[in-house]
Symmetry: C2
Subunit: 203 residues, 2 copies
């Protein structure tokens, strides 16, 4: 158990995680010290070690937390059910992915960029979670192919392509831009559906 247990300790840990995410996103993991994170939170440099043994521990916690939240949030969606119609499930996945990531731009950036900074065992832990998320989409595509509704010679590659396309929105989307979020979402839903649509097939 952490030395500072209970709600006060939990709250401090959450503030440390939030500050670390922001600092890592702005400067990169290697350039940020535990002292700087503590200073951003407004606690002593020693206090941070009550919550996180090392900076590596803090980083892997952020990345595992991000992926675990993502998986849990998708698995709670009705269309994540194994018997959902593939086309409806694919649309739901696209909308879910866009909305989840658009609200977590720093987390997405750190999760992608700082894979390089993870120890080998931590890297594999995060990679397993990333694979699990990709597998959810691959499963939808494979079911669509089996049902004759989708065309995708390699469902795994299609899943990676769709995830990259959707995550790319976080690189350029700004609130108050030319197109409203709902329009952007609709455009991507259509492009994602097109990616696996049989040539000359129905909608």
């Amino acid at each position: 158990m952490a030395r500072q247990a209970g709600s006060k300790g939990e709250e401090t840990a959450a503030r440390i995680r939030a500050a670390a995410t922001g600092l890592f996103a702005r400067h990169g993991y290697a350039a940020v010290s535990m002292r700087e994170i503590a200073s951003e939170v407004g606690v002593g440099a020693g206090a941070i070690y009550n919550h996180f043994t090392t900076k590596q521990d803090l980083l892997v916690g952020l990345m595992v937390g991000h992926m675990t939240d993502l998986l849990a949030a998708w698995d709670a969606e009705p269309m994540a059910a194994a018997d959902a119609f593939p086309a409806a499930a694919l649309e739901a996945f696209a909308r879910f992915h866009i909305r989840f990531h658009r609200q977590r731009i720093d987390e997405v950036f750190v999760s992608y960029m700082e894979l390089r900074s993870l120890d080998q065992p931590n890297f594999h832990r995060v990679e397993r979670l990333r694979r699990a998320y990709e597998d959810r989409l691959e499963g939808i595509i494979a079911r669509g192919v089996a049902a004759g509704a989708f065309h995708a010679p390699e469902p795994k590659v299609a899943a990676l392509a769709i995830i990259a396309m959707l995550t790319g929105i976080t690189g350029w989307y700004r609130q108050g831009g030319r197109l409203p979020a709902s329009t952007i979402e609709a455009l991507y839903v259509e492009m994602v559906a097109a990616t696996v649509r049989p040539k000359g097939g129905p909608d």
Copy 2:
């Protein structure tokens, strides 16, 4: 003119750029010093300043160089001509983008990740080049829409989506993986074409 002119000076500058790209990709710009870059190249810490006044100067040079090479390479492709058939130009663009980026994984990573580290004027310089590249693809898509060959309500958004999808390959592609490079390229060419294919239309 640089203090070390001629081929010897050029060669050293190229080695400094290559070392900086690798170090920035591994540790991030903020965590790498000019001294470390010099040490990687095997020159004195002072020698590096004969070529690059500041670390910022070195970074923006890498990013501008990457985007300038990319634009020049695409503009030299026959299918970059303004009168190329849109479907053929789109396929050529996809193949070109995959091949160019697959050979420059560190450059792609640094160019994306270190936008945050650029001074405001340098950021705008790099952004203008990125826009110019996106505009090339947007132009192909807009011509395809005008010719009735493509469906894309927002060619700009389609261009961003396609570029993100294609660049995503650099995140997971490894030589000697399960699928040969030519198969992966063919799968992506097909998905890119599908993204802008009119529903129920011909190939």
